[in-house]
């Protein structure tokens, strides 16, 4: 029960933002998150932004994906 889509914040008016993915826009409530700026990517579920997407962590995840074979057999 968790379909959540990464969308970019385009405009903010009080606690509502207009967010966009691939040219499609929808209003979303910012009731659940703080310190959102225009241009941030947020996760949208049921008309609410439920979390911000951390660009640094995203980079690290993609790096780990690229280096999958270097991970070795044993977890730390």
């Amino acid at each position: 029960m968790c379909l959540g889509i990464p969308m970019q914040v385009k405009t903010i008016a009080e606690e509502m933002a207009v967010c966009e993915i691939d040219g499609v826009r929808r209003e979303a409530s910012l009731m659940m998150i703080e310190d959102v700026k225009v241009g941030d990517y947020v996760l949208i579920h049921a008309g609410f932004a439920i979390e911000k997407i951390d660009e640094n962590e995203a980079h690290l995840t993609l790096k780990a994906l690229r280096e999958a074979l270097d991970m070795g057999l044993v977890a730390e």
Partner: protein, 368 residues
């Protein structure tokens, strides 16, 4: 980065699979990992992930489909409310086809009831504003990803002093059922793929007690195909290294403590209660109900109505399927008496139920 397409790259998928094959090559036996989120069930089927995994890794579905674990009586209650005069039932699309004891919301719509599919609980609030002459009943189903959004809607309704907005509440919470299953000696689960967006709200730390008690690896995993593959890889490495800890694959969204503001919103409006999980039974403190100060929004309290007696169908193995103990094909009703057009149990009717997913996407020889 737009955070979607990057996690669907076929080249990177190949890499993860190569790494997986390498890691399991020395392992003796089969590793069984359970996901407990309908969205994971869908993601795994839609991407054909089982067809790519090495034979030594088996993915099974647990009780992660909130529609599937909703008691039949709840649907009957929603059906009864839809028959009330001047009542609009607002619901997520997922609930519309679920069969109750004798009817469904879809059937009631054909018989004249007003059922509106909404994308957001806030749209149900807007409906209530637009139709002061009607009672709007919103069906509150879903786990901790959705419950805060319903809390937000209730607070909005409170703020604008709506008197015709109600919630019929059947929210449930994780990780309660994960503990129940982990403690079941019949069930051999070597690791949990923990749900991405529930965890965004409750935080990765929420699974620590589970790990401490049952020593079972937990990896909080995203829903894109590369997320799932990386999550499985991380679980596999834990099993090989004989570790059991909470790890987060979905780091770009999930924090150890989760979303505190969302948790506060949820706790402001809801309080824990005991809940019945279809197929599993009662799990203490695993449900959510409206707090007394919001009871004026509670449809069950404010709109008393007679609800028919529950009729459960015989031969339906949804319960065992939800616990991951049997596969859809083990149920003799699967594909015979029980199909998406004529679903007997909720596992078949909910689009992300295990049986529906197997029916629609499963390739023979690759079952869960």
């Amino acid at each position: 980065m737009k955070h979607q397409q990057e996690y669907r790259d076929p080249g990177l998928a190949k890499l993860q699979l190569q790494a997986l094959n390498q890691v399991v090559s020395e392992f003796d036996g089969v590793m069984t990992f359970m996901e407990v989120c309908g969205t994971h069930t869908m993601a795994i089927y839609q991407n054909g992930i089982r067809s790519l995994l090495p034979d030594k890794i088996r993915l099974i579905s647990g009780p992660g489909c909130p529609v599937c674990v909703t008691p039949v009586g709840y649907v009957d209650h929603a059906v009864a409310l839809s028959r009330r005069p001047d009542t609009i039932v607002a619901t997520f699309g997922d609930m519309v086809r679920v069969p109750g004891s004798s009817s469904s919301l879809l059937k009631e719509q054909a018989a004249g009831a007003t059922i509106k599919i909404v994308y957001s609980p806030l749209d149900a609030v807007k409906l209530a504003e637009k139709h002061p002459e009607s009672d709007i009943v919103f069906l509150g189903v879903g786990f901790e990803t959705t419950a805060p959004t319903v809390a937000g809607a209730v607070l909005t309704a409170e703020q604008i002093k709506l008197e015709n907005f109600y919630v019929l509440c059947s929210h449930k919470t994780m990780p309660g059922p994960m503990s129940v299953l982990a403690g079941d000696p019949e069930l051999k689960v070597d690791g949990y793929l923990c749900p991405a967006h529930v965890s965004a709200i409750i935080g990765a730390n929420a699974y620590q007690p589970l790990v401490d008690t049952y020593k079972i690896p937990c990896v909080v995993t995203g829903f894109e195909p590369l997320d799932v593959l990386q999550g499985v890889l991380m679980l596999t490495r834990q099993v090989i290294a004989k570790l059991a800890k909470v790890e987060t694959q979905y780091r770009r969204v999930v924090k150890p403590e989760g979303n505190r503001k969302a948790q506060a919103l949820l706790n402001q409006v809801f309080e824990p209660c005991n809940a019945r999980w279809r197929g599993i039974g009662d799990i203490p403190e695993s449900g959510l109900q409206l707090r007394p100060e919001f009871s004026h929004f509670d449809a069950a309290l404010q709109l008393p109505i007679e609800v028919e007696d529950v009729v459960e169908h015989q031969g339906c193995l949804c319960g065992e399927i939800l616990k991951g103990k049997v596969r859809p094909a083990d149920c003799r009703l699967f594909r015979t008496a029980c199909t998406p057009e004529n679903p007997v149990g909720a596992c078949m009717v909910s689009s992300e139920g295990t049986c529906a997913a197997e029916y629609k996407y499963g390739i023979s020889g690759q079952q869960a």
